[in-house]
């Protein structure tokens, strides 16, 4: 496949563009489906019609996210065959198998019950509808599980051996439950919840900021806040666990993430670099700003624990270093910022800043929440850049190099399809903004409620809170 270097690069670019665009949508449908389950359950339990109106409102946004997630998801599954045929043959026995399970267990469940969830309100009893929503949520979360199982196996190809260039599975349990999988599944699943919390929080904050249906959207804002309160600090903890697991299973990736060249000698801690500029040829950083000893503390939870440097590994096994270094820093900085946003929000809440009358005045807090949604997506994308670019130069870690895994197709064909994907996806982005804006401006339709019942209940809520 060495005759097609351009095809490899173009296929990588195409995969990067299509996956980075695709994942923006399912992360929200995974979290939002659970939010819809909560709203419907609250409605059935309390009989408060506000929850029903909330479910219908967020359900309309759910359609938009699902539509974009479904239509951009199909190209993902087919790209393994179209652009990565050598990889597909090498890993098909396990990787393809897992994609099959994802379809049979997750996508089918989600897609079928979606019909009832969206259009079945008047056709099935309340509890059956709640069941359908639960199945959509289950399917969505299972799809995250299975795709992470597949990806995790590319990071740690356990549970079998390679025979004549093809992976033969000897233990499904070991291949699925490799040491990376529990951390990465958990990290991604909570990322879905956190991002969704910020999406719901951002949209609610927009209404509160503009003094539209303030009491009504304080309900969803506080639910989002509760979800973010749990997930934002938890993500820092899980991220730490994942990072330490990477130090064990992919030390060269960790060294690249930290632009860490020289293994720290015994008795001395490895420094953490705040900023640096790596020079791959000279195998050192041209300049750096560091905190002594901190990398050892973060990676090994000891003062002088050994952290392998890049110089311990052959240069042909280096992933791109600067990309990993900065992507990792962006993710960590944003993840930390979310924890501070939580602290700030609780402080305001305790001081009565989230009452119906005071909330619209908290302009900076609300603006921060509106920014937190795109920022959380940026944190997710940079996290995946670390995971996937950091896996290079391997497509199946330590076994098959990315440069040897692409389909032997002409570069021109991939150029054309890449250009078409970029054009169509930009158009989808426009559709998202225009339809999304339309749905948000149109609002939850509280005015249409008979006798302003929901607003009356919201008023009583306001009195209860005051």
């Amino acid at each position: 496949m060495n005759g097609f270097p351009d095809t490899v690069l173009l296929s990588r670019l195409q995969f990067a563009v299509t996956i980075m665009f695709h994942m923006l949508w399912p992360v929200v449908t995974i979290g939002l489906s659970l939010f819809l389950v909560a709203l419907e359950a609250l409605w059935i339990r309390t009989g408060d019609r506000n929850y029903y109106i909330h479910a219908r409102f967020w359900g309309r946004l759910f359609v938009l996210f699902t539509a974009l997630g479904v239509v951009t998801g199909i190209p993902m599954e087919f790209q393994f065959g179209t652009n990565w045929s050598v990889f597909s043959v090498a890993g098909g026995d396990f990787f393809g198998n897992v994609l099959g399970f994802e379809g049979a267990m997750a996508f089918m469940l989600e897609a079928t019950f979606l019909g009832i969830m969206l259009f079945g309100w008047d056709r099935v009893p309340k509890k059956v509808h709640l069941f359908a929503t639960c199945m959509v949520a289950l399917g969505a979360s299972l799809s995250a599980f299975w795709i992470l199982v597949a990806n995790s196996w590319m990071q740690v190809p356990a549970g079998g051996h390679f025979d004549n260039g093809r992976f033969v599975v000897t233990s499904y349990r070991e291949a699925m439950f490799n040491i990376d999988m529990p951390w990465s599944v958990t990290h991604m699943w909570f990322a879905c919840l956190e991002i969704t919390a910020f999406m719901v929080g951002a949209v609610s904050a927009w209404y509160i900021y503009n003094k539209k249906h303030t009491a009504f959207f304080l309900i969803s804002f506080k639910l989002a806040l509760l979800a973010a309160l749990v997930t934002a600090p938890l993500q820092v903890f899980i991220g730490d666990g994942l990072g330490r697991s990477i130090a064990e299973i992919q030390p060269v990736k960790l060294a690249a993430m930290e632009s860490h060249w020289k293994t720290n000698p015994p008795g001395a801690g490895a420094p953490f670099l705040i900023v640096a500029w790596p020079d791959t040829a000279a195998r050192e950083n041209l300049w750096e700003v560091s905190i002594p000893g901190l990398l050892s503390v973060l990676t090994t939870h000891t003062l002088t624990g050994e952290v392998k440097g890049l110089r311990d590994f052959p240069p042909e096994d280096y992933p791109p270093i600067a990309v990993n270094f900065y992507a990792f820093r962006v993710m960590v900085a944003l993840g930390t910022a979310f924890v501070f946003l939580m602290l700030w929000t609780i402080w305001k809440w305790k001081r009565g800043g989230l009452s119906v009358d005071a909330a619209p005045g908290e302009k900076w807090l609300l603006l921060s929440w509106m920014l937190a949604w795109p920022a959380s997506l940026a944190a997710m994308e940079t996290g995946w850049i670390v995971r996937e670019v950091g896996r290079q130069p391997w497509i199946i870690y330590g076994v098959l190099r990315t440069g040897d895994a692409a389909s032997p197709i002409p570069a021109g064909a991939v150029t054309a399809s890449l250009a078409a994907f970029i054009a169509v996806y930009l158009m989808l982005l426009v559709v998202f903004f225009v339809v999304g804006r339309y749905l948000i401006v149109k609002g939850p339709g509280l005015e249409a409620e008979k006798g302003g019942m929901a607003e009356t209940q919201a008023d009583s809520l306001r009195q209860g809170a005051a």
Binding site: A67, G96, F107, T112, I409
Partner: protein
């Protein structure tokens, strides 16, 4: 497991074939409805057409995802060779599916109203044609040497593939018309009966041409038709397909509403099985050499593991799909879906 081990590739061929046929029939009527929406006389008709699919299209399309994943796992060489050799039609199909899906899902919105109609129709048309060309290119034979595609990016654009694309197009339009017969009433239903008659005649003629061409093209298939020992096995399914077709035409002339969809689905299934039975045990007919299902299949351990999984999952999938159809049974009228 040991006793069935040698037959695992065959069992999986049947499973993959079943998934493919479920997809062709179910998404076939979705795509057919989409293509027919291009010829709508009014916006109201088009919104009934799109509305009739809203609750089922995503599930129907997921059979393609299921097919892709299962074929990837069970026949990795088939999956990767087929998709990389047919790069151009496959990618075109993906774009067709993007526009089609988005258009059905968002057609109720006031924004981009002028855009969703053509996106629904043209997305469906492009998807159907791309699938037809890809199927034609596969059945016509791919230029593969030692498990590597050595042909050109435009090999799929052959006269045989044109014939296959037209056949699939007629087939989808036939299925779409039958679905509209079931889901609509009045003028739209009456028109759908006429469309179904014409499209089914076209499907039969074009399908027969495919069949004859396929038999004449590959010597090993031809021999089966002249040897008495194999004649029954290759002839039985085409004959049953003809029987299903005549029952289908009878149901149309009797103005049944559900029966045409079911008989035409049976016709499509039998015709396809007939075509595949002639080709078996080859999974990718080649220009210089064929690839058999055994050469293309995954390790028996993988096939056995997957078999257990699907044996548990498929009954569950079928159960909730049937339930979904029951919930959304009945005629579609405008405004029923939000």
């Amino acid at each position: 497991m040991d006793t069935i081990s040698p037959y695992l590739p065959d069992i999986w061929l049947v499973i993959i074939g079943t998934l493919l046929l479920y997809y062709v029939v179910a998404d076939g009527y979705d795509l057919g409805v989409g293509i027919l929406s291009l010829f709508c006389r009014s916006g109201q008709e088009r919104s009934i057409m799109a509305g009739s699919l809203k609750a089922v299209w995503a599930s129907n399309q997921t059979w393609l995802v299921l097919l892709g994943g299962m074929a990837f796992g069970a026949f990795p060489i088939f999956y990767s060779l087929l998709l990389s050799s047919l790069y151009v039609p496959i990618v075109i199909m993906l774009f067709g599916l993007i526009f089609r899906g988005l258009a059905i899902e968002l057609s109720g919105h006031d924004r981009f109203k002028a855009f969703w109609g053509p996106a629904f129709g043209l997305g469906s048309l492009v998807t159907a044609l791309a699938q037809g060309f890809a199927a034609g290119a596969l059945f016509g034979g791919l230029d593969i040497v030692q498990l590597r595609f050595v042909g050109g990016m435009w090999d799929w654009l052959s006269p045989f593939a044109v014939l296959a694309a037209l056949t699939l197009l007629a087939c989808y339009v036939m299925l779409g018309a039958n679905y509209l017969i079931l889901k609509t009433e009045g003028d739209l239903q009456a028109g759908s009966y006429r469309t179904a008659r014409r499209a089914s005649a076209a499907t039969l003629v074009l399908g027969a041409a495919i069949f004859v061409w396929n038999v004449l093209r590959f010597p090993y298939i031809r021999e089966r038709w002249v040897h008495p020992s194999t004649l029954f096995y290759v002839a039985v399914f085409p004959l049953l397909a003809l029987l299903a077709f005549s029952l289908y035409r009878r149901s149309l002339s009797r103005s049944d509403s559900l029966a045409p969809l079911l008989w035409s689905a049976l016709f499509v299934v039998l015709a396809f099985v007939g075509l595949s039975a002639g080709i078996y045990p080859v999974i990718i007919p080649g220009i210089t050499g064929h690839i058999t299902i055994r050469e293309a299949s995954a390790h028996p351990a993988t096939l056995a593991f997957m078999l257990v999984a699907v044996a548990i999952l498929f009954p569950i999938i079928l159960t909730y799909n049937i339930y979904n159809y029951r919930v959304f049974g009945g005629k579609t009228r405008e405004g029923k879906y939000e």
